[in-house]
C-alpha cells in the first residue's frame, strides 16, 4: 500500500535509477520512472567485466579499507573520500543482494561467488557473471522493479524523455517536464523530488563505447537551469576498444584481468602476421614499464602508453592499433570466463580472438565528472538528486575498472532514502500559480521552433563534427592551444545550430527532433568539458597535458565547478575531502605503498581510516542496515 503524499520522480532506468526506485518503493512511496528506452535496454547492460567488492574469499587479505584506498589512489586523490569509503564498505552487501536476486555470478568449485582481478588493484575483488555482468545486474533490478510495478508503487514512463526540472522562484525543484517520444506531447509532472540517473556523456565525443542514448542531454538541461556541474574535464578513455564505423566497442578490462597481454612488434611498421612474430621480437610494453601491475595498470596509464607507442610508430603496421593477446590461454577457459566479449569481437571483426591476437585502440568510455552532489546525493538545487555515472562523486580523476556498477548501486541506495527524507519535510503540498504549465509551455515552444526552423545545416552532421573535434583535442593528450580552438569551434557550432533543418515532416515517433534537442545540450556541455580542461593546468588521472606533466596539488587539488551563464560556463574551485588518506604521489611501476590490512590488524596510523570508521558507525545509519558486519 502506497503511503500518501510523497511522489518521487526517477529519471533513467539503468542500475542507479532502478536501485533508487526500488529503495523508494521499499519505503512504501510512489515512484514515476522515466526512461528513453525500455529500462531493460539501458546502457548498464553494456558493462562487461564485473562489480567490485572486497569480500576476500581468496584469502588475500583484501578488505573494504583496501578497496577504499585503491579507489582513492586510482582516482589520483580527486574524489571526496568519505563517500568513497562508504561505497567500499557497502560493496560486499551489494554483491550479496544481487546474489540473492539470482544473478548467475560465476562460481568457485565450492559454489561460492568467484572473483577476478581488475586494474589498479592486486587483489581478486571483482565478482562477475561471465563477461556480461552489467546485463545480469540490470535484469535483476528490472525484475524487482516489475514486482513493484505489479503492486502499483512504480509507474514506468518508457519512451519518455526528461526535458527540464521545474524550479520555483526560491530555486527549489517542484517537478519536471518530459516529452512522450511517440507523440511529442510535453507534460509537466509535479513531484517532491527528482532523482537523476542519466548516465554518461560519451556521445559528445561522437564515437565512444557508450550507447546512443548517452548524450548527457539531461545533465546539460539541469546545468543550464542552475545546477552545478563538477569535474567535467575528467573523461575516461578506455585503453582497449575495437574501432568501428558506428561506435567503438569495448573490449573489457577483464580480458587483461584473465591474463591478456598487450604488445606490439619491437620493430616499427612490422607487417608480419602476429602469430609468426617470435616472442623475443614482441614488445610487452606495459609489463616492461610497470612490472608490479603489468597489463593491469589503471586505465588512464594504459591508455596513454598505448597512445604513445602508436604515436612513436610502433602501432600495428605503423597505424593506430596494438595487440591484445589471449591466445596463450586455453580456449575452454576463455569461453567460460570471457565468452560474451570474445563473441563481440568475432561478430564485429570476423576473427577468432582465441587464436588470433585482437587489435585494439583506446576509446572514450566513462564520465568521471558530472552533476555536483553532496553526501546525500543532492545537488545544489533542493529537491534534485543525482546518482551513478551522471554524478561526479566517486571516481575522482580516473575510475578503476568494475567500480562503476558498485557506484551506481551505492548512489541509488543513498539517494532513494535521502529523497524520501527530503520530501517528508515541510517542503511540499503548496500550489504553484502556473509554474508547471509555464515550464511545459516553454519546452513545447522549443519543439515548435525546431519544427519550423529551415536552413542548410544537418543536426547529425553537426554532431559528427563536434565529435571529431572533441575526440581529437579533448581526450588522451590535451594542449591549451587546441583546447582554445575547440571552444571557438563549439561556439561556431552553437551558432550554426540556429540554421539546422531537422528534415522531418512526420512528427509521430520522430527521432530527428529529440536528437536535435540533445545536440544543443551536448554542445553546451562540451564547452564545460573543454574549458574545464583548459583551466586545469596540471596532469592528474585521465587529464594529461604535456605542457604541465605533473600533478599540482597546491593549485588543483580541487573540484572544478561550472555554473551556466548565457556567455559560457563560469568556473570556481572547491576543496576536496582528503580527511582520511593524505595525498601522495601516484605511481604504478612499483607496488603501491598501500596500508597493509591483514586480518584484524588496523592500518597504519597515517591513514586515520579505522578511527573515522568507528566515528561514522556511531553517527550515521548505513543505507544497507547491517553492512558493517561485513567490514572485517
Amino acid at each position: 500500500m502506497a503511503k500518501a503524499d510523497i511522489r518521487i520522480a526517477v529519471v533513467g532506468g539503468g542500475l542507479a535509477g532502478l536501485m533508487t526506485a526500488i529503495k523508494v518503493a521499499e519505503l512504501g512511496h510512489k515512484v514515476d520512472l522515466f526512461s528513453l528506452v525500455p529500462v531493460r535496454r539501458s546502457h548498464s547492460v553494456c558493462a562487461q567485466g564485473g562489480i567490485n567488492g572486497a569480500v576476500n574469499t581468496k584469502g588475500e587479505g583484501d578488505s573494504p579499507l583496501v578497496h577504499f584506498e585503491d579507489t582513492v589512489y586510482g582516482g589520483d586523490f580527486l574524489a571526496n573520500q568519505t563517500q568513497v569509503k562508504m561505497m567500499c564498505e557497502m560493496a560486499p552487501a551489494i554483491i550479496y543482494m544481487f546474489d540473492r536476486m539470482g544473478v548467475p555470478f560465476s562460481r568457485t568449485p565450492e559454489g561460492l561467488i568467484d572473483f577476478r582481478r581488475f586494474g589498479g588493484t592486486r587483489f581478486h575483488r571483482t565478482a562477475f557473471a561471465g563477461a556480461s555482468t552489467g546485463q545480469q545486474l540490470l535484469y535483476a533490478l528490472d525484475e524487482q522493479v516489475r514486482r513493484f510495478e505489479a503492486e502499483g508503487l512504480v509507474t514506468k514512463y518508457e519512451f519518455w524523455e526528461f526535458l527540464s526540472p521545474v524550479i520555483d522562484d526560491n530555486q527549489v525543484c517542484r517537478g519536471l517536464t518530459a516529452m512522450n517520444l511517440r507523440t511529442l506531447e510535453v507534460q509537466a509532472f509535479p513531484c517532491d523530488a527528482v532523482v537523476m540517473a542519466t548516465g554518461g556523456v560519451g556521445l559528445i565525443f561522437g564515437k565512444s563505447t557508450n550507447s546512443v542514448i548517452c548524450t548527457g542531454s539531461a545533465q546539460s538541461a539541469l546545468y543550464q537551469q542552475g545546477v552545478k556541474y563538477a569535474n567535467g574535464e575528467f573523461i575516461q578513455v578506455h585503453p582497449t576498444a575495437i574501432p568501428g564505423e558506428d561506435k567503438l566497442r569495448l573490449m573489457s578490462e577483464s580480458a587483461r584481468g584473465e591474463g591478456g597481454r598487450v604488445w606490439v612488434p619491437r620493430r616499427g611498421g612490422d607487417e608480419r602476421d602476429p602469430e609468426s612474430i617470435p616472442e623475443d621480437e614482441r614488445w610487452y610494453f606495459l609489463e616492461e614499464k610497470y612490472p608490479a601491475y603489468g597489463n593491469l595498470v589503471p586505465r588512464d596509464i594504459a591508455t596513454r602508453e598505448i597512445f604513445q607507442v602508436c604515436q612513436d610508430g610502433f602501432g600495428i603496421g605503423g597505424g593506430n592499433m596494438v595487440y591484445l593477446d589471449l591466445t596463450h590461454i586455453p580456449a575452454e577457459a576463455l569461453d567460460r570466463k570471457l565468452g560474451a566479449i570474445l563473441e563481440i569481437y568475432e561478430k564485429f571483426v570476423g576473427e577468432d580472438p582465441r587464436h588470433t591476437p585482437m587489435k585494439i585502440f583506446p576509446g572514450v568510455h566513462y564520465t568521471m565528472g558530472g552533476i555536483w552532489v553532496d553526501a546525500d546525493q543532492m545537488t545544489n538545487v533542493p529537491g534534485i538528486f543525482a546518482t551513478g555515472e551522471c554524478d561526479y562523486s566517486i571516481h575522482g580523476a580516473n575510475r578503476l575498472g568494475a567500480n562503476s556498477l558498485v557506484s551506481c548501486i551505492y548512489a541509488g541506495a543513498v539517494a532513494g532514502p535521502a529523497a524520501v527524507g527530503y520530501a517528508t519535510g515541510d517542503r511540499h503540498g503548496e500550489t504553484y500559480n502556473g509554474l508547471h504549465e509555464g515550464e511545459a509551455r516553454r519546452q513545447a515552444e522549443i519543439n515548435e521552433r525546431l519544427k519550423n526552423q529551415r536552413g542548410p545545416e544537418n543536426a547529425y552532421l553537426l554532431h559528427e563534427e563536434m565529435g571529431e573535434w572533441m575526440t581529437d583535442n579533448v581526450t588522451v593528450i590535451r594542449y591549451n592551444g587546441k583546447l582554445e580552438e575547440t571552444d571557438a569551434k563549439l561556439q561556431e557550432l552553437i551558432e550554426r545550430y540556429g540554421r539546422v533543418d531537422i528534415n522531418e515532416s512526420v512528427y509521430w515517433s520522430t527521432q530527428a527532433l529529440p536528437h536535435a534537442r540533445h545536440l544543443y545540450n551536448m554542445l553546451q556541455l562540451a564547452r564545460v568539458i573543454t574549458l574545464g580542461a583548459l583551466r586545469r593546468n596540471e596532469s592528474r588521472g585521465a587529464h594529461y597535458k604535456p605542457e604541465f606533466p605533473e600533478r599540482n596539488d597546491a593549485e588543483f587539488l580541487k573540484t572544478t565547478i561550472a555554473v551556466y551563464t548565457p556567455e559560457g560556463p563560469e568556473f570556481s574551485y572547491e576543496d576536496v575531502d582528503i580527511s582520511l588518506i593524505p595525498p601522495r604521489r601516484r605511481v604504478y611501476d612499483i607496488v603501491k605503498e598501500a596500508p597493509k590490512v591483514a586480518g584484524d590488524q588496523p592500518p597504519p596510523d597515517e591513514f586515520h581510516v579505522e578511527a573515522h570508521l568507528e566515528r561514522e558507525r556511531k553517527d550515521k545509519q548505513h543505507p544497507f542496515e547491517d553492512s558493517s558486519k561485513n567490514v572485517t
Binding site: 528506452v37 531493460r40 527521432q511
Partner: protein, 248 residues
C-alpha cells in the same frame, strides 16, 4: 566493391498509415553494419531517385548486440541490425520491420507483449528486501553455467518473430518467456515460486502451444538453448499437473 550500397527499406509513417518502399544509396565503408547505413540516411535523407524524404526511424541503443533493441528483417531474415555486417550479406539490402508486432513507425515496432509475458510468468525472485541479509545460496558451477546461458536473453523478440505458433490467432506466450521460467526455476531460491510460474504457463497460450518447429533455437542471436528450456518445462509441468491431479 562499389563505393555505395543500395538499401530498400519498407516504410510506414504511423501504425495506421500505408506501407511504401524507398531506396537509398549510402557510402560503403569496410566492416560497417546495416545500422551504419541507416545513420548515413539520417545525415542526408534523400532517396536514390533524388527525392527528399524523412529520415528512417528504427530502434537501437548499444550497437553491440546486448541491449536487444535493433531486431529487424534484413534480406528476409529476422536478425539484429548491429551485428549484420554489410560485407557478409547480399546487395541490394532489403530492410523491413518485424512482422509479428504492431509497427510504430518504419522499422520501429511495439514489443511490449514480450515484457508483459515476463510479468505474467513471474520472472523474478521474491527477495525479502534489498537490505543486507548476507550471501545468497551456494550454487554449483554446472548449475550456474546452465543458468548463465539462459540468462543472456536480451528480449530482442526474434524467437517470437520466427515461431510459427506466434501469430494473430494465437495467444502463445513464446519461447523467451518460457526460457525465463526455466531460468528462475533452476535457481535454489527461485525454485520456491516454481508453482506460480508453472501455473502461469499451463493455461491457454502456455507451453502446450509450442509446436516444436525449433525455429527459435536456430535464430536466437545469443544461441540460448531455448528448446532445452522448453523440453525441461514440459517435464516439469507434466509432473506438476499429475501431482495436482493426484492431490484432488
Amino acid at each position: 566493391m562499389a563505393d555505395t550500397i543500395r538499401l530498400r527499406i519498407r516504410r510506414q509513417d504511423s501504425p495506421d498509415a500505408p506501407t511504401r518502399w524507398e531506396e537509398f544509396d549510402v557510402p560503403y565503408r569496410k566492416g560497417e553494419n546495416v545500422l551504419t547505413c541507416l545513420m548515413d540516411i539520417q545525415k542526408s535523407p534523400v532517396t536514390s531517385g533524388g527525392r527528399r524524404t524523412t529520415p528512417v526511424v528504427w530502434e537501437s541503443n548499444c550497437l553491440e548486440e546486448v541491449c536487444g533493441s535493433c531486431s529487424m528483417i534484413i534480406n528476409g531474415r529476422a536478425r539484429m541490425g548491429c551485428t549484420t555486417l554489410v560485407d557478409k550479406i547480399e546487395k541490394p539490402i532489403t530492410v523491413e520491420p518485424l512482422t509479428k508486432f504492431p509497427v510504430v513507425r518504419d522499422l520501429m515496432v511495439d514489443r511490449s507483449r514480450l515484457f508483459d509475458g515476463f510479468r505474467k510468468v513471474h520472472a523474478w525472485i521474491e527477495i525479502d528486501g534489498t537490505h543486507d541479509l548476507g550471501p545468497g545460496p551456494r550454487v554449483a558451477p554446472e548449475v550456474q553455467a546452465a543458468r548463465y546461458d539462459m540468462s543472456r536473453c536480451m528480449a530482442c523478440a526474434i524467437c517470437l518473430e520466427v515461431c510459427p505458433q506466434v501469430n494473430s490467432h494465437s495467444k502463445f506466450i513464446g519461447p523467451a518467456a518460457l526460457n525465463q521460467v526455466r531460468l528462475f526455476n533452476t535457481h535454489p531460491t527461485g525454485k520456491m515460486q516454481r508453482d506460480a510460474r508453472l501455473t502461469a504457463i499451463m493455461g491457454p497460450g502456455g507451453i502446450t502451444d509450442c509446436g516444436n518447429a525449433q525455429n527459435c533455437v536456430k535464430s536466437c542471436p545469443k544461441e540460448i538453448p531455448l528448446t532445452d528450456s522448453i523440453a525441461g518445462l514440459y517435464r516439469e509441468t507434466t509432473w506438476y499437473g499429475l501431482l495436482g491431479w493426484l492431490k484432488k
